[in-house]
């Protein structure tokens, strides 16, 4: 409980940006940080380890240098009110960010490839919860470093308040955009060793007739493996349409799909896009239709 109180104090202190209160706060919170470092592997302060003589040897092997400053060391940035100001006020780089409400309570800690864009989208979806943010830019943003930075902030927050930020609790869908892009690709069969009772062509037929929009692409929708497929996924995403995708290169679950589909649709190449059970075409056609504005009306039908 003492820790939670101190944390609130610390946020208020740092947000007031007066030098004296900052000094004050850091001297107060130090004992709690060292307490936390005993529990956490992600401590970034080598100086703390000599304060913990009993544990320093055991823990030194686990010290991972985090790429970002600690939450408590950062000044909050007020979330801009105009969308145009976001790229000026906030970095468009990769990194971690913590969103504070107007009570200076952390609502959400996120990882992003563009912090400004992510905060802007939060500001749009939940403006009442986005008062200020703290941001930590990660210079070499590989997945491990980003995850590590996020973990260090989460651990710091949990150590101080004993709670997970409300937006990071499982089942809270306010902050994490469950975009259609994350939908899994459809697999036509359970695996290549499973004997099909229905011909593949019939599976294709059912699939395209039971779903409004189906894209047969090379690679998965989250990582298309050819430029044309990528473009198709991009266009469908930009149209905001709910669509299914099938990876024609998945030899484990869609064995023989490429040949069967070419015959089924009488179309020689991939990607192939079906709307209402009918082949619309490949990438070129989709691009043309989008340029002409025909695509939006087709998808509305």
């Amino acid at each position: 409980m003492a820790a939670a109180t101190l944390n609130l104090l610390s946020i208020r202190a740092s947000s007031s940006s007066s030098p004296s209160s900052c000094t004050n706060y850091s001297s107060r919170i130090t004992p709690h940080i060292s307490f936390y470092s005993q529990l956490s592997r992600s401590t970034t302060f080598p100086s703390l380890s000599f304060k913990l003589p009993n544990n320093s040897n055991r823990h030194s092997a686990f010290i991972i240098v985090s790429a970002v400053k600690k939450l408590s060391e950062l000044e909050p940035i007020t979330v801009p009110s105009k969308p145009d100001d976001f790229s000026d006020e906030l970095p468009s780089d990769s990194g971690v960010y913590a969103v504070y409400d107007n009570n200076n309570d952390i609502q959400f800690i996120g990882v992003s490839r563009s912090i400004a864009a992510s905060v802007l989208s939060h500001r749009k979806s939940v403006p009442e919860l986005c008062s200020s943010v703290k941001v930590g830019v990660v210079d070499e943003p590989d997945r491990t470093t980003l995850t590590q930075a996020w973990k260090s902030w989460m651990e710091e927050h949990i150590a101080v308040t004993g709670k997970i930020p409300p937006g990071n609790e499982s089942g809270n869908g306010i902050w994490v955009n469950r975009a259609p892009r994350k939908k899994p690709d459809i697999r036509l069969t359970p695996g290549r060793n499973v004997q099909l009772t229905v011909p593949l062509a019939e599976l294709i037929d059912r699939l395209v007739k039971e779903n409004k929009v189906v894209a047969f692409i090379k690679g998965s929708r989250s990582a298309p493996l050819c430029g044309f497929s990528q473009k198709v996924v991009g266009i469908l995403d930009s149209q905001g349409v709910d669509y299914e995708s099938v990876d024609v290169l998945d030899e484990e679950h869609n064995l023989g799909l490429r040949e069967t589909l070419k015959n089924y649709s009488n179309w020689p190449t991939f990607p192939q896009i079906f709307v209402n059970g009918e082949l619309i075409g490949g990438c070129d056609i989709l691009v043309s239709m989008q340029e002409q504005g025909e695509l939006a009306s087709l998808l509305k039908k």
Partner: protein, 92 residues
């Protein structure tokens, strides 16, 4: 021994009777990749998919050797005229 730009042009000219045809070799010389812009009377009343099918079937022989065929435009002469006029007015 791939397909040449001239070969594709000749086939399309004889089979599609285009009023405008532009074939661009995008393969860098090996003849495996082409981009096409084509305007033909034969596209009248046909959906884009059918137009692409017509081009693909006209090039059926060549397609055996072509890896990538990108049909940038498949228009009727009327559409081409309309597009040119709209782009002219935009320019002016």
């Amino acid at each position: 021994m791939g397909v040449t730009k001239e070969g594709v042009e000749a086939t399309l000219t004889s089979k599609m009777n285009p009023t405008h045809l532009e074939v661009i070799d995008t393969s860098g010389g090996c003849g495996a990749s082409f981009a096409i812009e084509i305007v033909s009377e034969q596209f009248e009343g046909k959906r884009l998919l059918e137009r692409h099918r017509m081009v693909n079937s006209a090039l059926a022989e060549e397609m055996k050797e072509i890896h990538a065929l990108s049909i940038k435009k498949a228009l009727t002469p009327t559409q081409q005229k309309a597009q040119q006029e709209s782009s002219n007015t935009q320019a002016a």
